[in-house]
């Protein structure tokens, strides 16, 4: 704990130090990160790992082997169309990882651009933009996603837009309030006085100083994205039929075959849960390290610590009195 306190909130020497800090103080978060990296590796090397390969972007079905229970040939069983479920899951990891990574990055990017621009430019621009975001946030997020999904149609491309744009606009609030406090600081005003343009100040002064918040935002929105993808698939607004997706198979077959072939629902449900769980653990750990407010547990404020100090004090007083 003492090590954690010394490095005041920010990773000083970059990536490696951050990772050691994560490993030393937040074992569970580190474990979550390892799980996420495993999923990413599976997604990248899906073509080599999967027992049944994709042909022309499709997993061919063998109706003779439909809905088989797990066996040596098919470790996770087969689905209602006779596709090997393990292969489906491996290719589904690819869909989830592509969506998860690209949406997190895109939504954070949108948040940063809107938030920083709104804070630095200020004035009328800020006022109107913030009123627009006020109104935007009154419309429930799920509805905006459904409307956008209807607008853009099914498919990966529209999924990426739909899962990142609403979240990005909503998340800009937090970035903006952080950017405003940086913008009003001495060095930023000095830069303005020396003739620094808005864009210069955004990139060279504001952005580096809100970087911890941006990283936190990145780490924290991953789990939500994966969950939302599954939920949209459940409501019938998802990827194209044929694109392997955990949310899709859980909805289309896992639910209807819940009793006759429970393994079809079990694998994707567990996979989504594990991935979201790992992402949440990782996000929590990153937030604990980067947000100084949340650090250090109870520290000197715990009951035991205060009790000890009080006892010491009483003992010394007694010693004084007797002496």
């Amino acid at each position: 704990m003492s090590k954690e306190k010394k490095s005041s909130g920010k990773p000083r020497n970059g990536f490696v130090e951050f990772m050691t800090l994560l490993w030393r103080t937040k074992k569970v978060a580190f474990f979550g990160m390892v799980v996420l990296i495993l999923f990413i590796l599976v997604a990248i090397f899906a073509d080599f790992i999967a027992p049944q390969k994709m042909e022309n972007g499709l997993l061919s079905s063998h109706l003779m082997e439909a809905a088989q229970a797990p066996s040596l040939k098919h470790p996770l069983g087969t689905d209602a169309m006779g596709v090997d479920l393990l292969s489906y899951m491996i290719y589904g990891a690819r869909t989830s990882v592509i969506l998860g990574v690209s949406c997190t990055i895109l939504s954070t990017l949108i948040s940063v651009i809107i938030g920083v621009a709104s804070a630095v430019i200020g004035g009328k621009f800020d006022l109107f933009l913030q009123r627009f975001i006020d109104a935007w946030q009154c419309i429930p997020g799920m509805l905006i996603m459904l409307i956008l999904m209807t607008m853009l149609g099914a498919g990966m491309g529209s999924m990426i837009v739909v899962l990142s744009v609403p979240g990005g606009i909503g998340g800009s609030r937090m970035i903006r309030s952080a950017a405003i406090s940086v913008k009003d600081s001495g060095y930023c005003n000095m830069s303005k006085m020396l003739g620094g343009k808005n864009l210069w100040r955004m990139i060279h002064h504001v952005l580096p100083n809100i970087l911890p918040l941006v990283l936190m935002n990145l780490a924290n929105s991953l789990g939500g994205t994966i969950m939302m993808e599954a939920t949209l698939n459940f409501l019938g607004f998802g990827v194209n039929v044929g694109t392997p997706s955990w949310g899709y198979i859980l909805t289309s077959q896992g639910r209807s075959k819940m009793y006759t072939a429970p393994w079809i629902g079990l694998a994707p449900g567990l996979a989504i849960t594990i991935m979201v769980f790992a992402a949440a653990m990782f996000g929590d750990g990153v937030r604990d390290i980067l947000d100084p407010r949340l650090k250090g547990g109870m520290g000197s404020f715990s009951k035991e610590k205060i009790g000890k100090i009080a006892k010491k004090y009483m003992a010394s007083k007694k010693a004084q009195e007797t002496a």
Binding site: P140, M227, T231, I272, F277, M298, S300
Partner: protein
């Protein structure tokens, strides 16, 4: 305070107008026109209608700006237009379905509060104890499970194992209270359990933040009893951010239960909206969205005022 309330209420008007613009623009950008659907429906019923006639009938032949002002004018008079395919007015559909969603939402919210406040407080009272770690891990697991997966399991397995099936036909609470509860209790529990995960953790963080304040340390140092420090100093002050937390949750109850409604066949406004969207029923979808947005705005306002009322230090202006 009075001045502040008036200011906030007046500020609602431009926001509401902007919401209307956003909703209208979003709806008009949806491809696949309702006109073709109407022509098709007429053909199905053995009647003939040309494309232009159908367009004029729906009021879609005018420019979008004119349509917008017609719609806004209607809204101000409390007239949201007619559904394209059902023959009812939009308001009659919404007013019939909003109470159902509200009932489900309120039940879910109450259960969430009942679950998450005590558990969150237990965690905060004994940070890093075994109980804390178990509850927190469980909370994150619950927040990570897709709600429709749990929901389906709840629908299927009890029916198979014990012959207990959740009724999936809606009964009004005024007709038969017990039949209504039989239908709503299970969806509400499923929603509350999956929603409680994040709230338990939020309550814990908020309480811990209060417990790190100087006055709590002073209370300990003065030798106040544990129960007194916890209830009088820590928990009471922690309730302030917790109110905001659940206020935010309350704002979402009208639009946030789409999945549960869909799964348990509850004819609420969320499910209606999904159907309206896939049918391209603009007036109905617009009406539902605007009603939800107005609800969010009003609840947010009430929460802000409650926050100010609880904590006089807060300066909202």
């Amino acid at each position: 305070m009075g001045k502040y309330v008036i200011k906030r209420v007046l500020l609602l008007i431009p926001t509401m107008l902007l919401v209307c613009v956003i909703v209208f623009a979003l709806m008009r950008m949806i491809p696949g026109s309702a006109v073709e659907q109407v022509v098709y429906n007429y053909k199905q019923n053995g009647m003939v209608i040309t494309y232009e006639e159908a367009e004029a009938k729906l009021g879609l032949d005018k420019p979008a700006v004119v349509q917008f002002f017609i719609w806004i004018g209607g809204l101000l008079r409390g007239d949201m237009g007619k559904c394209l395919f059902r023959g009812d007015t939009v308001w009659s559909v919404i007013s019939a379905q909003m109470p159902i969603t509200l009932e489900l939402g309120v039940m879910t919210l109450l259960l969430t509060i009942i679950i998450s406040i005590p558990l969150g407080l237990i965690c905060a009272a004994h940070p890093d104890s075994p109980a804390d770690i178990i509850i927190r891990t469980l909370a994150i697991v619950l927040a990570s499970v897709p709600v429709f997966w749990i929901g389906t399991m709840v629908l299927v397995y009890p029916a198979v194992w014990w012959g207990f099936s959740i009724p999936l036909t809606y009964v009004s609470i005024f007709d038969n209270f017990f039949a209504n509860m039989r239908m709503f209790l299970v969806p509400a529990i499923v929603g509350a359990i999956t929603g409680a995960g994040n709230n338990i953790r939020a309550v814990r963080t908020m309480t811990l933040e209060v417990m790190r304040q100087d006055y709590v340390r002073t209370a300990w140092a003065k030798g106040a009893k544990e129960s007194r420090v916890m209830y009088q100093h820590a928990f009471r002050n922690a309730l302030i951010p917790v109110i905001t937390l659940f206020g935010g949750a309350a704002a979402g109850i009208l639009g946030g239960n789409v999945v549960i409604e869909n799964m348990f066949n509850i004819p609420g406004i969320g499910q209606q909206l999904v159907t309206a969207l896939s049918n391209r029923d603009y007036p109905l979808a617009q009406g539902c969205t605007v009603i939800m947005a107005i609800f969010v705005m009003i609840v947010n306002l009430v929460v802000d005022l409650a926050y100010k009322w609880c904590d006089p230090r807060v300066n909202l202006e």
